[in-house]
Every structure is written in structure tokens, then in C-alpha cells.
């Protein structure tokens, strides 16, 4: 069973909440499902990041080819000032578990 500390930690990392016990159940089931992986013998097997691992990545010249689209990029932001995206104050941690509403 996943401990409450881990659940809390996950909510902080993901910045997404479980919302209710159903959400927690869903995670439990997902873990149970994933545990089947341990039945497979992977001794000596290298992890695979990409199916294209045998190829070289394309590198292009370090030249500026596009940009100057400040206006377009700001269009979709709800809160902005001049050419800045406006965010609420940072460095304020989310309230501790006891003080929050979820599960």
C-alpha cells in the first residue's frame, strides 16, 4: 500500500491531486498492474530509450532562423504585462498535508 507521505509527495511533484479515495485506488491498481513487469527476466538487457538508438541525431548549423514572434507568443497568455508573462509570487510552498483539502 502506498503511504500517505508518498501520496502527498506525489501531489506536490505532479501538482495534480488525487481528489478522492477513488483516485488513490486508481494509483494502487496501476502499481499492482505494473508489478507484473518483475516476472520478466531482464538480466543483461540494456534499457531502450529510443527505437532510433542506432542513428545519429540531426545537427544543424548554429544559426538563428526564426524568432521575433513575441506578439504571437503572448496572445495565448491570460495574464501579461508588456512583454512579460505574469505569475503569482513563487517560493511559497503548497500548504502541508494537514492543512489541505484533498483525500
Amino acid at each position: 500500500k502506498v503511504s500517505v507521505e508518498v501520496l502527498d509527495h506525489l501531489e506536490h511533484l505532479a501538482l495534480v491531486d488525487f481528489r478522492d479515495s477513488e483516485g488513490v485506488e486508481r494509483l494502487q491498481k496501476a502499481i499492482q498492474f505494473a508489478d507484473q513487469l518483475h516476472e520478466v527476466n531482464t538480466d543483461g538487457v540494456e534499457p531502450m530509450d529510443s527505437v532510433l538508438e542506432d542513428r545519429c541525431l540531426y545537427l544543424r548549423e548554429d544559426d538563428v532562423t526564426e524568432g521575433n514572434c513575441t506578439k504571437e507568443l503572448l496572445e495565448n497568455a491570460r495574464e501579461k504585462v508588456e512583454e512579460y508573462f505574469v505569475a503569482p509570487p513563487g517560493n511559497i510552498p503548497l500548504p502541508k498535508l494537514e492543512e489541505r483539502e484533498t483525500f
Binding site: L37, T42, G90
Partner: protein, 525 residues
């Protein structure tokens, strides 16, 4: 019967002046309106489509069409960025988001004169196998309203009508599949991460091609799983899929995961002799839950090849059983990472909370994502925790290699193409489908399709026959990496052998039989 023609046929008609792009566009738009109940489209771009059609008119008049796609009405799944047009991914998170740019594949279609009719419906953020979990509601399979399905369904009471027993379109590219299947467009783009193009193609009776990973650019396709996502192609026949592939494939400097090899568009030969081919039948694809109908069809298909002289062999992909679990871990992990960009700051939904950045982000994401998305983000983060990383994420990456190697071994043993079912059964009624939750459904339905995504291989669904309920059943061909020409050649041959019936929809007949000004002959039906 212009609307029911194939892309190549209608392109020829445009070239010969038997119909104009504007007329074609108007017909499609009218049909979209009268098939609104299918809920295949989220956004219909009527004005811009007519404008594009008008420009195409001019080019045809001057005798200078841009190519085979000039003037062809197409639709694009709503997880591809389309400049100036809302792109929602069927999520509250992106409602109102107007893309500032075109995805590369969209740009390529537009550069070749295609007419973009609109953005199609999907499961939220392409997570799902039914196209039932988006904020704009579920997509209805056009076959629910077909003569073929109606003739086979027994109404349980006089009150029960097609309103309650419509079937799902499959997912997550259900809108695109339904749009092509109901003749509102001649081709549509979908995306395929675990089967999201092939699954709805099978349920809607259309061709669904998943190209090799790295062949078609993902630039502008809102990512789900970077190492598995590919744009998918949905058309009414294999030849049309080859046309689309020819227009879309090739290196894109904006997508570093596209290969640099030159891609040469091809026309498919009319294969008559399949004796040179070796068709592999992977025994593990006789998965639990596979309907006896589909099993029989699969067997019949193998016989068709055998009787035509092809070498048909049973092969083994021993890690198939673990592919779903492996996919589950890798998918949720990449999703957790990819969804992190949605914080309300630069685009998309933004919550009103202002106490802190974190509380704003958390509230935005709580308000913007549905349960399915949030569930996958949380699972993914769990598997990526320091204490779990080796045990789950790296372990899954190792199993992924084993799965990919299974295919390598089989292809190395001389097999050219694999033949498997695409889905476990024909399309389920919506009321039945929603009884199970999304994760369970996806786990069940993806089992036949997602190993191809893990290994990056090309795969295609070819509509094969109608089930006892009068609904489409398709079979899947999986090919070697970057051997799309061979894959499609065999698929085209098979398509010719099975002669899958055309859907009989009242709506379409009414629109299609109306008189065209320029039409000299109605010879397509």
C-alpha cells in the same frame, strides 16, 4: 457519388473539371452539418475552408494545380496545432487556445492545396480507446446508423431506437475515423501512440496507417509519449494512404526524431503474385478476449494468402503478454513529463488562484485535466520517483528492448509481414463501453496494437469484413521499419481480395445524389 469516391478518383475528377474544389468543399460542409450527431468534429473551419477551396479553383482554372491533394477536403485530429484555429485536445486545459503555428504535417497538407475542413474529436489528450472521454462528448461510429447495422439489430422495445444503441468509434482518433468513414472528408490525420489510429480505423471500417517512428514529423503534434507517438493516416483505401504518406513523410529539421534518409514517395504496384512473400502469424496475438468471429476472420485471411501461394508461418513474439504492462509504465512516465508544461502561465486554461505560483499551477491543472489525464500523471510520477525509477521505469525500458527484439528476430528469420487482428471485437455499444473505466478499457483494447509502437514499426489496419452485428472488423499488417512500400503493397493486395462493403448511410446518399453543375457522369458508385 462524388463524396463516396476515393481520394485519387476525386482528384482526377477535379483535374478533369468534372467538379470544382468549391463545390466539393460545399458538399462536405453540408454533409458535416447533417451528420452533426456523430460529433466527429470539434471545430469546423467553414470560412477558411471555402477560401482555400476558392484558391484551389483558381489554380485548376489556370491549369496549375499543386498536385494530387489540391482541392481535396481533409480533416485533422484536434491535437495537431493549426495556425489561427483553436486546438483543444478535447480538454478544458486548452479550450480557447488558438495555435500560433501549423504542425509540420498540417503545413505540408496546406502547401499542397488540401482544404482543411476542421479539427476532429478525440479522447482528452489522446488518452483512451473509445473517443468517449473528451470534454466535447463522445464520437458516434457512423456505422451505428448504417443499413447494415440496423438490419442486424433487434430492437428490445419500441422505445429503444438508434439513440440508445449507437456504438463507439474507437479511439483515440475516433473523430478522424468517423469523418473519413462518413464521407465528410477524403483523408484525415490521426495520431497513434498505442493504436489510436488503427483501433478507430478498425471500428469505423477505414484504412488506418501507423507509419514507422521517425518517418513523419511530430513537430506540432501535442505530445503524449515522445518515444512512441506518430501522426496517423486515415483514408478509405490503401492507395489513398500511400498518397498521404508520400506528401507527409520525410526529414523535418524541426523534429530531431525524424530520420535523415531521403524519402521517395511511391505508387503502389498492383500485386498479383504474392508467392514471394512470407506472412507471419504471431500466436500470442490470439489474446484472451479475442472474439471467435475475429479469430475465424484472421484464420480465413491467412488461408487467402496460403491459397495464393504465399508462405504463411506461425511465429512467436514471446514478450507480447508483457507489452501492455510495459506500455503502461512508459506511457504514464512520459505523460507525467509532457503534461508538466500545462501550468496556465503561457497558454491554455489558467485558474484564478493567486496566492502562489504553485497553488495557481495546482488549481489550473485540477480544473483543466479530466480524471484519466490526472490519473496517468500521478501514476507516471510514482514510477519516476527515485525509489521506483530502477524498479519500474528502467525495468520497463529493458522489457521494451525485449519486445522490440522479438520483432527483429522474427523479421530476421525471413518473415516479411505479420498478420494479426486489430481489435478484440467489433465496436461495443456506448452504454456498454462506459461500464469499465478508461484504464481498463485501454489495457484491454491496446493489446494488439501497441507492441508496434514500442518497436516503432509501421502497421496498418485494413477493413476486412462485417461482423454478425453488421459492424466493421479489420485486420492488421505489421511491417519492417521503413518498409512502408512493401507493407502497403501487401495490404492493397489483401484489400482487393476481401472487397469490404461500402457503408450504406441515408444521409450521404441524399447529399451525394444532388446534381453537380459540371458532373458529366455519375460513375463512382
Amino acid at each position: 457519388a462524388m463524396l463516396r469516391a476515393s481520394l485519387r478518383q476525386v482528384s482526377a475528377a477535379l483535374k478533369e473539371g468534372r467538379v470544382t474544389p468549391t463545390e466539393l468543399c460545399q458538399r462536405c460542409l453540408a454533409l458535416i452539418k447533417s451528420t452533426k450527431f456523430l460529433n466527429a468534429y470539434i471545430t469546423v473551419t467553414e470560412e477558411t475552408a471555402l477560401k482555400q477551396a476558392e484558391e484551389s479553383d483558381e489554380r485548376y482554372k489556370r491549369g496549375q494545380p499543386l498536385g494530387i491533394l489540391d482541392g481535396i477536403p481533409v480533416a485533422v485530429k484536434d491535437n495537431f496545432n493549426t495556425a489561427g484555429i483553436e486546438t483543444t485536445c478535447a480538454s478544458n486545459m486548452l479550450k480557447g487556445y488558438i495555435s500560433p503555428y501549423n504542425a509540420t504535417v498540417v503545413q505540408k497538407l496546406l502547401d499542397r492545396g488540401a482544404v482543411l475542413l476542421g479539427k476532429t474529436n478525440l479522447d482528452e489528450f489522446a488518452m483512451g480507446s473509445g473517443s468517449t472521454d473528451g470534454v466535447f462528448g463522445p464520437v458516434r461510429n457512423p456505422w451505428s446508423y448504417s443499413r447494415q447495422y440496423k438490419d442486424k439489430s433487434v430492437p428490445k422495445s419500441h422505445a429503444e431506437d438508434e439513440e440508445s444503441n449507437w456504438v463507439i468509434a474507437g479511439g483515440s482518433s475516433g473523430g478522424s475515423a468517423a469523418a473519413v468513414s462518413s464521407f465528410t472528408c477524403f483523408a484525415a490525420l490521426g495520431s497513434d501512440t498505442g493504436g489510436s489510429t488503427r483501433n478507430p480505423a478498425a471500428h469505423c471500417g477505414v484504412v488506418g496507417l501507423k507509419p514507422t517512428y521517425g518517418l513523419i514529423s511530430r513537430h506540432g503534434l501535442i505530445p503524449l509519449v515522445n518515444s512512441m507517438d506518430v501522426p496517423g493516416i486515415l483514408t478509405r483505401c490503401v492507395d489513398d494512404a500511400a498518397v498521404l504518406l508520400g506528401s507527409l513523410a520525410g526529414h523535418d529539421p524541426k523534429d530531431s526524431t525524424t530520420i535523415q534518409d531521403e524519402f521517395k514517395p511511391f505508387e503502389l504496384p498492383n500485386l498479383t503474385d504474392v508467392s514471394k512473400f512470407s506472412i507471419g502469424i504471431p500466436k500470442e496475438y490470439h489474446a484472451p478476449g479475442l472474439s471467435s468471429e475475429i479469430l475465424a476472420l484472421w484464420s480465413k485471411a491467412a488461408d487467402i494468402f496460403k491459397n495464393a501461394g504465399a508462405k504463411v508461418v506461425e511465429v512467436s513474439l514471446p514478450h507480447t503478454h508483457y507489452s501492455i504492462v510495459c506500455y503502461h509504465v512508459l506511457c504514464t512516465a512520459e505523460v507525467a513529463s509532457n503534461m508538466a508544461r500545462f501550468d496556465g502561465l503561457e497558454y491554455g486554461h489558467r485558474s484564478d488562484r493567486r496566492e502562489s505560483t504553485e497553488s495557481m499551477y495546482a488549481a489550473t491543472r485540477r480544473e483543466g485535466f479530466n480524471d484519466v489525464v490526472r490519473g496517468r500523471i500521478l501514476s507516471g510520477n510514482y514510477f519516476l520517483l527515485k525509489q521506483n525509477y530502477e524498479k519500474y521505469f528502467v525495468k520497463a525500458q529493458k522489457v521494451r528492448r525485449l519486445i522490440a527484439n522479438d520483432f527483429v528476430k522474427v523479421f530476421r528469420s525471413g518473415v516479411d509481414i505479420l498478420l494479426t487482428p486489430t481489435t478484440l471485437s467489433d465496436a461495443a455499444p456506448y452504454t456498454e463501453f462506459i461500464l469499465e473505466d478508461n484504464r481498463t478499457r485501454s489495457a484491454q483494447d491496446d493489446i494488439l496494437t501497441q507492441a508496434a509502437n514500442m518497436a516503432g514499426l509501421p502497421a496498418i489496419n485494413v477493413p476486412t469484413a462485417l461482423s454478425e452485428r453488421g459492424l466493421p472488423v479489420g485486420l492488421q499488417f505489421i511491417g519492417r521499419s521503413f518498409q512502408e512500400k512493401q507493407l502497403l503493397t501487401v495490404a492493397k493486395w489483401f484489400e482487393k481480395q476481401v472487397q469490404f462493403p461500402m457503408i450504406q448511410l441515408e444521409e450521404v446518399k441524399r447529399h451525394d445524389n444532388a446534381v453537380f453543375q459540371h458532373q458529366k457522369s455519375a460513375s463512382f458508385s
